[in-house]
């Protein structure tokens, strides 16, 4: 009997089906490889590439060097190794992107589910979403960073302060898309029979939402989350580019680009490296989002 069951072909799991579809999207595969490489590089890179310790006087002697075996990406105007700075900056940039996205997705999903499930909350919450959509975001982000930077830096230190402030500011201003998507899904899902069945056996709203509705909104949320990472990285680098992002000793790619701008005419590579890093990250994340959208859509997956 057991032999017979093993003889039956193993049904493809949903994850496998999704992966099969995802693999056919060349751009998405390219994105996954590039993003994976970048993440590996910024996580492992600092352990593999330890810049030599040297005194300030010695470092200044070695400023503005071109690429060499000793400094693969050259040195900056203070004699700091650019490769080590790029790796450090990448870690912060990617961390900002992911954490800001998580905040945005958490807020967006919560608001979307509440608005979709509870009719009473729908009106006010959606008006709130509309209002946030009408806010001029870049000016407001700039104002927020400008105003609260020093105050938060006083509380938790300049580095952590800048990180928390920027991540929070980006998170609370980019949840609206996710909220709208989730609300739409929930509105349709809660009319389904299985939700009715759950309610008929006396399940409380919290349980219906967490056990029955939430798992079914995961796929659109995942697509929104992927694209949210790209958006957050761009927003952070815009802030840094305008001089209102991270401090220079705690750089991100956007900050490195901003620092490189003053030397753009003599050392254009100092702008190009961080710019290419940002663009590659965003491009690969966008491609992954594209591939995920196709892979998670059962209507497309079947074909």
């Amino acid at each position: 009997m057991t032999d017979a069951t093993t003889a039956i072909e193993k049904p493809a799991s949903q994850m496998r089906a999704i992966w099969q579809q995802f693999r056919t999207h060349k751009g998405a595969l390219f994105g996954l490889i590039v993003l994976g490489t970048l993440i590996l590089a910024v996580v492992l890179g600092p352990f593999l590439w330890v810049p030599e310790k040297m005194s300030v006087a010695k470092a200044i002697m070695l400023k503005n060097q071109g690429p060499s075996w000793r400094f693969p990406l050259g040195t900056d105007q203070l004699g700091r190794d650019m490769l080590a700075r790029m790796l450090d900056a990448g870690k912060v940039s990617l961390a900002v992107g992911f954490v800001a996205m998580m905040i945005a997705i958490f807020v967006g999903t919560t608001i979307g589910i509440l608005a979709g499930y509870f009719k009473r909350l729908d009106g006010p919450l959606m008006r709130l979403t509309d209002m946030f959509l009408a806010l001029p975001l870049i000016p407001l982000l700039l104002v927020m960073v400008m105003l609260f930077r020093d105050r938060i830096a006083g509380l938790v230190g300049p580095e952590m302060g800048a990180f928390l402030l920027i991540v929070f500011a980006i998170g609370v201003t980019s949840w609206m898309q996710a909220a709208r998507i989730v609300r739409g899904e929930v509105l349709a899902l809660k009319e389904r029979e299985y939700v009715l069945a759950a309610r008929s056996i006396g399940a409380i709203p919290r349980r219906i939402i967490l056990r029955h509705i939430l798992p079914n909104v995961v796929s659109p949320v995942m697509v929104a989350a992927t694209l949210g990472v790209a958006e957050a990285i761009i927003t952070e680098s815009v802030l840094s580019f305008l001089g209102l992002g991270f401090p220079p000793d705690f750089p991100t790619w956007g900050r490195l680009l901003y620092d490189g701008l003053s030397y753009m005419q003599i050392y254009p590579e100092r702008v190009i490296w961080p710019g290419v890093a940002i663009s590659l990250t965003v491009l690969s994340v966008n491609y992954i989002g594209d591939g995920l959208r196709d892979a998670l859509d059962p209507r497309i997956r079947g074909r």
Partner: protein
């Protein structure tokens, strides 16, 4: 349609009021109060006088009310005065910038033309590039041209404008020396020579913004065309023996333009936001760079007013997009 427009207009009022409240109080929380800008050597009583003259000693709700009144009542009246030579607004307090001690709206009126010329041209160029690309990509779906277009569009909206702009500067201004790196705001066009100079200095910022816009608009154009290409009326038109040209450029294009036009309308306010970066980079002294300058200088009235103007633009163009959609597509009925 009219009732819909009116209802939306009425609904926009509370939204805008709420937004103005958010903007005003967020900016007003600023720790860098105007008092910190006054040198410490100024005696205490003089300092009080200065603060009083600036009107920052009042409680916050009084200042908010005053600002609203100035924004919606005094400034429009001043505008009417300036156009018709009347004097309704005489003696009324206008919104004064902390930086320049001149009315905020005077600065905006001075700076707006620069923004509109550069950004407007960029948007127009973007649309003019995007529409043909979108049409052809859809007509020859999965051809080499289409795949190249898809790739370029993906790159176009992944590369942030501050990087593509910098690359253009390095390539065309520093490397080849074809265009100036900075935009000269004082240039006035009087003859062919200065006109040519204006065109040259506008090229880089217009390219930077135009390409970024073209990337997203061409995608919308393509998908909208694709949606219509498979419709029955297209088959009917072909069956009647119409030329491909007429079918694609008349029947399909007209129907496909409906969503694209609304996307274009929706994009206009975000252009002003995105323009902040481009203006900053090329030294175009439009309202975007005015906003950055005001933020750095702690010029609260200027920041509040500009941010609110951006918000009004967003709400207004959302409304325009909705109305346009209803007007262009007779299948859509809001009432």
């Amino acid at each position: 349609m009219l009732t819909f427009t009116l209802r939306r207009l009425l609904l926009a009022i509370p939204t805008l009021l709420l937004i103005s409240l958010v903007i005003f109080f967020l900016v007003d929380l600023a720790p860098g109060s105007p008092a910190s800008e006054i040198p410490l050597t100024v005696p205490a009583e003089v300092r009080m006088k200065i603060l009083e003259a600036m009107g920052v000693n009042e409680p916050v709700y009084v200042r908010y009310g005053l600002w609203l009144k100035q924004f919606f009542y005094v400034e429009p009246l001043t505008g009417i005065d300036a156009i018709f030579g009347s004097n309704y607004a005489e003696g009324m307090q206008r919104i004064i910038s902390y930086q320049t001690r001149s009315p905020v709206f005077d600065i905006i009126v001075q700076r707006l033309p620069q923004t509109l010329i550069v950004i407007g041209t960029a948007y127009l160029v973007g649309i003019l590039i995007a529409v043909p690309i979108g049409i052809y990509s859809a007509y020859r779906q999965y051809s080499i041209f289409d795949q190249l277009g898809t790739l370029l569009a993906m790159i176009g909206f992944s590369v942030p404008t501050f990087f593509s702009g910098t690359l253009l500067i390095i390539l065309f201004a520093v490397g080849l020396g074809w265009f100036p790196t900075k935009y000269d705001t004082t240039l006035t066009v009087t003859d062919w020579d200065t006109f040519w100079q204006q065109v040259r200095q506008m090229t880089l910022p217009v390219m930077t913004l135009g390409l970024a816009n073209a990337a997203s608009i061409s995608r919308y154009m393509r998908s909208s065309m694709l949606e219509n290409m498979g419709q029955d009326y297209v088959r009917t038109a072909r069956a009647k023996g119409m030329s491909e040209r007429t079918v694609v450029l008349k029947h399909v294009l007209r129907n496909s333009m409906i969503p694209v036009v609304t996307v274009i309308a929706l994009g206009i306010p975000s252009i002003f936001g995105g323009a902040i970066i481009t203006e900053n980079m090329f030294g175009v002294s439009g309202i975007g760079s005015a906003l950055i300058g005001a933020i750095h200088a702690n010029d609260l009235p200027m920041v509040q007013t500009l941010a609110f103007i951006f918000a009004i633009l967003i709400v207004l163009f959302n409304l325009i997009a909705d109305v346009l959609y209803g007007l262009l597509d007779p299948r859509i009925r809001y009432d």
